[in-house]
Symmetry: none
Subunit: 224 residues, 2 copies
């Protein structure tokens, strides 16, 4: 399925593709669904399938990698002195949001990040590491570098997938205190799950950012 089609031109119909590749209509439709999800084609019943103009897509091809890069980059950017908050099962409010199998104990670290020049905090971050990383966790230097990169180096764990959930919530008492806000003030909450290549979560991080001082921004370049 490597044919090149120009922008705005019509795309072959389902029946055409079925004959051309000698597969069933189901298979063709599954493939077209993916193209549609990526914004590469648009379909309309009765009309047909058309190739989306370049303007309609955002460099969808090399995007996944750059996105992961951005996320990890962001995680590495923090220069925070963490403190250990102990070890145990995952807090229910975190476990509920992920909805995965999160059995076992997790070691929790919590840190407040501040802007170098200013006093006010930019973020409160909590990081949870699964017990199978305990060996690496014990050697952590809480004041040097980022926890993730240390874990990555000393345990050899690799990232297979990252999920990220961004939500606006009201600050609770703890968050309000650390971020110098009032309870109930809007806060950006970013929950990240780091999966290894087998699909098992090995790290979870939750960051809270003050709404008035922080914006999560992404830049997407469109190729050709």
């Amino acid at each position: 399925m490597a044919g090149r089609f120009s922008n705005g031109t019509t795309f072959p119909t389902e029946t055409t593709l079925c004959q051309q590749y000698d597969v069933s209509r189901f298979t063709i439709r599954e493939a077209l669904k993916r193209l549609q999800a990526e914004g590469l084609i648009a379909r309309k019943r009765g009309s047909g399938t058309v190739v989306q103009p370049a303007a309609a897509r955002g460099g969808a091809l090399h995007q996944p990698l750059s996105n992961v890069g951005e996320i990890l980059q962001y995680a590495r950017d923090s220069k925070v002195a963490y403190e250990s908050k102990g070890r145990g099962p995952l807090p229910t409010e975190v476990a509920e949001q992920t909805g995965e199998d999160l059995a076992g104990d997790w070691t929790c670290f919590r840190g407040v990040r501040r802007h170098p020049d200013r006093r006010r905090a930019i973020a409160v971050t909590e990081a949870y590491f699964h017990e199978r990383l305990d060996d690496a966790v014990e050697t952590l230097d809480l004041s040097a570098g980022t926890l993730f990169s240390q874990i990555e180096r000393s345990s050899g764990v690799r990232v297979g997938k990252v999920t990220q959930d961004i939500q606006a919530i009201a600050a609770d008492a703890d968050i309000a205190r650390d971020l110098n806000l009032d309870e109930g003030d809007p806060v950006l909450r970013i929950l990240r799950c780091y999966y290894d290549p087998t699909g098992t979560i090995f790290e979870i991080s939750v960051s809270f950012h003050p709404g008035d001082r922080f914006a999560y921004s992404m830049h997407i370049d469109v190729e050709g």
Copy 2:
């Protein structure tokens, strides 16, 4: 499909549901795909289907966006009846955050988006088009298709870059009314700037999402 299941419990298997509702496996799978896309269930080959605790948090809707294509897709997916809010310079709160040269007049449209299956609104969107697109803007059909795609077609403008800023803010009176919230409630604000290939912004959109009903989520796979 109105059965109630608790969080974390196992969900009926596909074959069970097929017999129970006397439909084919295809139909069941299509239905389950929707539940999965909303983050309500998680499925694993060999294991089964489990209910996601996502339902526990007030029915917050997961908006899964796995790549940039989907982000743009989602931006123009809206089936919203927009209304024109007039023409003039950009509001200061919008202009300030972009930090670009935004001289000239902009035509503003505003619409409320609802999830197809649900009644409550999940977004208020404001779109601003630069005056150099005025010819295309005047031919806009506010109830048919999406504004962006219409502009794209009639003006021939191309996207060179998209930036996206995500922030948590407190709902003002207007937003609170449209989203069925109280003033001051946390709201997710997504500001997108669309640049042409020369680096000039030609469209800006601002979306407001209710914090309790909407989570911006991205899933990113790392390739080999």
